[in-house]
Symmetry: C2
Subunit: 242 residues, 2 copies
């Protein structure tokens, strides 16, 4: 009887909306449990124990993610329901692709590649990108193209967690990987200010537009999906560069 | 026999590429035969014989096209194969949606609406938009989302023909429709400089990337399709505002 009651409760549809604080808490919990800072490869990276080969493999593979981010954001842009939202979102694309007189994040990532000893050409040719990384990133782009815009927006909320990780990473690279040219770290420096501003916009959209329990749950699920996308990339990189 | 030979010839696959000049000529021919400046509704507009009701109907319906243009361009942006191309294309979205401190084309169109006696609200609510306009515009957005990027780019080449039409239209509105507040014509003024720069980029992409006879033909077909999209809108507007 008790067990059956428990079973029924666990499966009962939630009838009340989470408050903004509860909802934000659920989203942050996804990061606490599943963000890729907990991945073994990242842990070893931050202990300073990755080889040059492994760092290069990570940078070369992660390029495929970086180059796909503006494609993903243009897909979201095309699905956003208002000009006001597009005006807020389009800066993400300019941040990555660059503006007149400003190179942007993809170029900065290529400079990181050079700083770790990869040629621009081999990075751009994607010759080191392994299938598992490609599949995960393509799944993310496809999610942004085909899912309702609010879920695609919610999936971007890993930016809530990235500033912490990136500020640690800058120190780690400077102190534990002194062979990496510091000029290669511009990408991370830029993200320290871009990510919080981006996640403010996305979080406000998600809190405002998810107005049923189901919509709130779908946003949490979208963020989990995105964490899976990041995690699966590290799985594939770890496997390729043991 | 002769007739059969003719039949065979007409259906023979073209084996040689058009030169850049021939190809450009074919594209311009599409405009000469099918651009909507030849539509009866446009002809009457430029003769100064549309009623206030008809002008208002045109502006209110055409808003649906205007608001869909950046959605279409974001879809193309998401399909473009390089950062360099995206950097050239993204300005179209900013032109329509606006930049910080700059309202953009959709806002300018709303001011045109006010200049012809429509409230912003009734235009934004799309209460005058007729199904035929909606279907044609949605077909254009769908084309941009689902077709190869180069065909979507080719479909934008009606911008080769629009400056001529728009410069005439500014004079027509000023001289033959003096009841329209001149401040409403900013949209057309902006397009006089934006359209040639946009079509330069698009034409260069099409000439460079259509490197088989079939690809060239598909570009011509895409431009014909776009002319149909514009023409069908005027058909529907003409029918709704007799």
């Amino acid at each position: 009887m008790l067990e059956q009651k428990g079973f029924v409760n666990r499966n009962k549809e939630r009838e009340e909306l989470w408050t903004a604080d509860e909802f934000t808490g659920r989203l942050r919990n996804v990061g606490r449990s599943s963000y890729h800072d907990k991945h073994p490869f990242h842990i070893v990276m931050h202990q300073g124990n990755l080889s040059k080969e492994q760092i290069r493999g990570w940078v070369a593979n992660r390029y495929y993610y970086q180059k796909s981010v503006p494609i993903k954001d243009a897909a979201i842009l095309s699905n956003l329901p208002s000009r006001e939202m597009r005006r807020e979102w389009i800066g993400r694309i300019l941040d990555h692709d660059g503006r007149p007189g400003e190179d942007g994040g993809i170029e900065a990532w290529l400079r990181l590649g050079e700083a770790v000893g990869l040629s621009r050409e081999e990075v751009i040719r994607e010759e080191h990108v392994v299938p598992g990384v490609r599949f995960a990133v393509d799944a993310y782009v496809n999610f942004a193209r085909t899912k309702p815009w609010i879920e695609a927006v919610a999936s971007s909320l890993t930016e809530l967690f990235s500033p912490d990780l990136i500020s640690k990473r800058i120190k780690v690279f400077e102190q534990l990987y002194p062979w990496i040219d510091r000029s290669g770290l511009d990408y991370f420096q830029s993200r320290l200010t871009q990510a919080p501003s981006d996640s403010d916009v996305a979080l406000r959209l998600v809190l405002t537009h998810c107005q049923t329990p189901e919509a709130q749950q779908r946003a949490v699920n979208a963020l989990r999906f995105k964490c899976d996308v990041l995690w699966a990339q590290l799985d594939a990189i770890e496997k390729a560069y043991p």
